[in-house]
Subunit: 227 residues, 2 copies
């Protein structure tokens, strides 16, 4: 499970202090599907990056499965990310010179899978997101929503214990977005967690728990029905 | 006004032909606010890039204010883009090493405005999109929705005759997105046109005309009420 304890993230720009996160406490158990909502600039991506071991807080403790993440070396963190976490970035971060299928294979390279298994799993992941006919395309030969789906496929291909998705349907039409959410619904399980940042309140309603951020603080944490 | 005449855009990848646009006829007059909708990969961004003189069709004619765009030189096209068009890209394309305000000033540099006027107008544009307190931040010091709003401010700062916006609210929460649309509504006028690609059917309903694409072809072109 995942625990944020008094987490702060501050940036110093000249004599201005930007409080991206300003004292956040949060506990997420495996088996949960959680939506994080909030205005633009409220700290959602910052929180997700900390959960994904991609950024370190200014103060406070992040414990992942009992491990104090702040005390791990960079190589230990890389190991945690590759073995436990799948991350869909708000701006995708695909390798520009690699095809869709090679982009999706990348986490499996780290996992040490042989080439044939990697190719098979990457192709299956791309089929699941509706990109069977785009596997050889590079990112600049794809539409915005197709790139987003390659990023989703890459995050799913290792079947991670924790899937962190930053606005995963932001570039998708309603129908394609709904297919992605159906796909996420299949990821339920006692040893799987999904944390999804979304502006789409309809999406947030589909989860069992909604966390609302405002100005770097938690404003709400509970069931969507009571929101 | 803007006229697409039998427009096709094909890509050749090996022995595969991708028909991004496959025979599109379209006429848009000044004074119109138009939404372009359609599934991911249906050709929306491709169409918008052609309208913005940023890409050339494989066949067919694009006439902008009577001018055959395909017959213009690159410098003539740059002149048309800078003097008549404001473009909000689906992936923003901000200068990574420049601050928000300098990014927004850039079109005014091309327009030959003196430094003080540029700064004043760029700051005003950033205030209009709610970023008064982020003017000195570089793109990597901004959230996804803040970058999107810098891209919007940059497109608006020259008060262009034709505003082309590719998913301008895709990274914005409902409230911030609505403020942007209110801002776009103020751009109405007999000599102003807005063409907005959006996945948000609520947004599409706010325009007077909806154009639906599917597989590179027009599927619908008319009033949203009858959709
Ligand atoms: N350089 C290219 N080479 C080959 N195919 C391309 C290239 N650029 C775009 N395409 C294809 O053209 C089609 C249309 O792309 P476009 O970006 O216009 O779609 P879109 O409607 O904007 O989609 P989205 O809603 O996902 O942004 C897509 O199927 C895409 O894969
Ligand atoms: N490197 C940085 N330096 C200074 N301020 C930063 C930096 N990175 C982010 N910020 C600020 O931190 C705040 C939170 O950013 P974050 O990306 O977490 O917001 P968000 O909730 O994901 O927003 P959006 O919905 O627009 O994506 C923003 O106001 C942003 O300007
Ligand atoms: Mg964000
Ligand atoms: Mg697009």
């Amino acid at each position: 499970c995942v625990e944020l304890d008094a987490i702060r993230k501050h940036y110093q720009l000249g004599d201005e202090t930007v409080r991206a996160l300003d004292g956040v406490d949060l506990l997420i158990e495996y088996g949960e599907h959680v939506a994080i909502i909030g205005p633009s600039g409220s700290g959602k991506s910052t929180m997700l990056q900390i959960l994904g071991c991609l950024d370190t807080p200014t103060s406070g403790v992040y414990r992942l499965d009992g491990l104090d993440v702040g005390k791990q070396s960079e190589s230990q963190l890389a190991e945690v990310r590759n073995s436990k976490i799948g991350f869909v970035f708000q701006q995708f971060h695909l390798l520009p010179r690699a095809s869709a299928v090679r982009n999706v294979e990348l986490p499996l390279v780290y996992a040490g899978l042989p080439a044939r298994d990697r190719r098979e799993r990457a192709e299956a992941a791309l089929e699941r997101v509706g990109l069977a006919d785009r596997m050889g395309h590079r990112p600049d030969q794809l539409s915005g929503g197709q790139r987003q789906r390659v990023a989703i496929a890459r995050a799913l291909v290792t079947d991670p214990a924790m899937l962190l998705a930053d606005e995963p349907t932001g570039n998708l039409d309603t129908k394609t977005g709904a297919e992605i959410l159906d796909l996420f619904d299949e990821l339920r399980g006692p040893d799987r967690a999904l944390v999804m940042v979304t502006h789409d309140e309809v999406l947030a309603q589909r989860t069992q728990r909604v966390i609302a951020l405002r100005d770097g603080k938690l404003e709400f944490d509970g069931s969507p029905v009571s929101h």
